[in-house]
C-alpha cells in the first residue's frame, strides 16, 4: 500500500446559517483550495462527498456531481457520495484513503456538508429521526438524546459518574470553541451555566448536547509523491479502523456504558499505526453528547474503564493534561452538521499537526486521533502523524 497524506483543509463557518447547501459547499471548498496553493480544481482526480440528508433538507440528490460542478472538479478516477449518518465524513475519508493507497487515485478531495436548519424548526427534528429504526424506535418518540441518555444513566449507576463530570465536558468544549471562529458557539460556558441549562433527556442538559448546525468542511488527500511535491508539511494517515455492532438499540449489549465496537475500531487503528493511546497528543472525539466523550476516553484507552469522570474532572483531557480532547470545541461547541463533522475533525488535525492552530494550538503535537460515530454501536477511528511512520 502507498502512503497517503492530507495536504489541504478548510471549513465553513458552522452555525444556523442563511447560506444554502451549495453556498456551504463553496465556502468550505474555497477555504480548502486556499490552504494548498499548488492544487487547482482541475488537478484533483477524485471527489468524495459525505452528506446525510440533502434529499430532505435541500431537495437535492446526485450530490457528488453537483459538488464537482460547483467547485470545478472533473474527477477522472473516483467520484462518490457517502452516507453513514453522523460518521459519513470519516467514512468518505476512508474511501479516498483506500483508493490512493491502492494506486487507483492520486489526489482526492473529501468534502462533508449538511444544511440541517429549516424554516420550519420541527422539520429538522423530524429529519434527524430518520437515523433511528423507524418501525421499532422512532415509533416510541425516541430521538438521539434519549439513546445517549441511556448510556449516561448506566455509566452513572455502574461507575458513580456524576452530573458535574458530565457537565465538565460541556464546559471544556464550549471553552475550546470560544477560540475557534468557525464554531457554532463562541461565548464559552461555566459549570453553573451548563448545570443550569434546560434538561433535555435526563441527565443530559442542553449544554451537554450538540446543536442542530449547518456547515461544511473539506480536505485534500494525496499520494506520497504528490504530497511531497505540494507541501513541506503533509499530515500523514497512519492508521484507520471501523467496527459495527448493530443498528437497533436493542441489538446492542444492554449495558450501554460499554461500547465494544469503539474499542475494536481503535485497536485496529492503533495496530496499523503501531502506536498506543498514551502517545496521542490530541484527539477529536465524537461528543454528540457529553457522555459519548467520557465513554470514548475509556474505549480509546486514554483511561481505564469507569474512570472517565475523574479523568475530565482532573483536567487530564485538557491543555496541560494527558491528551487534549476536542481542541476545536467538539460537536458540543462547533455543532454537528452530520456529514461535515468527520471532515472538520480531520481539518482540525491538519492545522494542529502543522502547528497552525493559533490560539488553540496543542504544544508539540505530533500524533492525533479522530473518532466519529453513527450510534453507540458504530464507530470509525483515524490516526494521523506529523511523520509518515
Amino acid at each position: 500500500m502507498r502512503r497517503v497524506a492530507l495536504v489541504g483543509a478548510g471549513v465553513s463557518k458552522f452555525g444556523v446559517r442563511k447560506a444554502t447547501y451549495r453556498d456551504l459547499v463553496w465556502e468550505a471548498g474555497k477555504a480548502c483550495f486556499d490552504s494548498v496553493p499548488g492544487v487547482k480544481p482541475k488537478d484533483l482526480d477524485g471527489l468524495v462527498v459525505g452528506s446525510v440528508m440533502p434529499e430532505r433538507t435541500a431537495f437535492q440528490s446526485h450530490i457528488s456531481s453537483m459538488v464537482a460542478e460547483a467547485l470545478g472538479i472533473r474527477p477522472s478516477a473516483l467520484s462518490a457520495r457517502t452516507e453513514h449518518m453522523c460518521a459519513s465524513g470519516t467514512v468518505g475519508i476512508r474511501y479516498a484513503y483506500a483508493f490512493i493507497a491502492a494506486g487507483l487515485a492520486d489526489l482526492v478531495m473529501v468534502l462533508g456538508v449538511e444544511k440541517l436548519n429549516q424554516p420550519v424548526a420541527d422539520e429538522a427534528v423530524l429529519n434527524m429521526g430518520t437515523g433511528v429504526d423507524r418501525e421499532w424506535e422512532a415509533a416510541f418518540g425516541l430521538t438521539a438524546p434519549p439513546c445517549f441518555a441511556f448510556a449516561a444513566q448506566r455509566h452513572m449507576a455502574e461507575y458513580g459518574t456524576t452530573e458535574e463530570q458530565l457537565a465538565m465536558v460541556g464546559v471544556k468544549n464550549h471553552t475550546h470553541a470560544a477560540k475557534n471562529p468557525s464554531a457554532h458557539f463562541t461565548k464559552g460556558a461555566t459549570l453553573d451555566q451548563v448545570l443550569g441549562s434546560r434538561m433535555i433527556a435526563s441527565p443530559l442538559r442542553l449544554f451537554m448536547c450538540s446543536p442542530i448546525t449547518d456547515g461544511a468542511a473539506a480536505v485534500v488527500l494525496a499520494s506520497e509523491t504528490r504530497a511531497r511535491a505540494l507541501t513541506d508539511t503533509p499530515v500523514w494517515i497512519r492508521g484507520t479502523g471501523q467496527a459495527l455492532d448493530g443498528f437497533q438499540l436493542s441489538s446492542l449489549h444492554e449495558d450501554y456504558a460499554h461500547w465494544p465496537a469503539l474499542k475494536r475500531a481503535a485497536q485496529a487503528a492503533y495496530q496499523m499505526a503501531a502506536v498506543g493511546p498514551h502517545e496521542i497528543d490530541l484527539a477529536e472525539v465524537h461528543d454528540c453528547f457529553s457522555i459519548a466523550e467520557l465513554i470514548a476516553y475509556e474505549e480509546l484507552g486514554f483511561c481505564h474503564k469507569g474512570e472517565a469522570g475523574p479523568f475530565v474532572a482532573e483536567g487530564r483531557s485538557d491543555y496541560g493534561g494527558d491528551v487534549v480532547v476536542n481542541p476545536r470545541g467538539g460537536l458540543i461547541g462547533c455543532g454537528h452538521p452530520l456529514g461535515a463533522t468527520g471532515v472538520a475533525q480531520a481539518a482540525e488535525v491538519f492545522v494542529q499537526l502543522r502547528g497552525e492552530a493559533g490560539a488553540r494550538q496543542v504544544p508539540a503535537a505530533a500524533l492525533a486521533l479522530t473518532h466519529n460515530n453513527s450510534g453507540m454501536g458504530e464507530h470509525v477511528v483515524m490516526i494521523y502523524g506529523k511523520e509518515p511512520a
Binding site: 425516541l142 430521538t143 441518555a149 436493542s250
Partner: protein, 126 residues
Amino acid sequence: MAEPVITLRHFFERARAGQLTGVRCRKCGELAIPPKELCPACYERAWEPVPLGGEGTIASYTVIRVAPRAFMADAPYAVAAVKLTEGVSILGRIVDIPLERLAVGLPVRFRPIVRNSQTAIGFGPA
C-alpha cells in the same frame, strides 16, 4: 421469501391483548425480540413465536423533557430499555411509576399502552 412467523402487525396485535411475544430459532434456540429477518446466532430463518412473561428489570432509562412534536403533550415522560427475565431487551414507555423512583435494576412488568388505534409497549410496576 417466506413471511416471517411473526410480523410487526401480529406483534402489536398480541401486545394489545396483553401478551408480549418473541421469536425463537428452531435450529439453535436463540431468542429474539423484536422479530428479525435472520437468526443472529446461526443465520437460519426458522423462527417460531414464543410468549414472554413480560417481567424484567430496567437496564437503563431516561426522562424525556424535550420531545418531538407528536409526543410534546406527554412530556415529561420516561422511556426505558428493559431486560426481560428470558434474557432479551426491549424498549418501552414507563407508566404508573413516579419518575423519581426510576433506577437501573428496578423490576418492572409489561403492559400495553393503547391509544386510539395505536398500541405501544409500556412497562409499569412489577
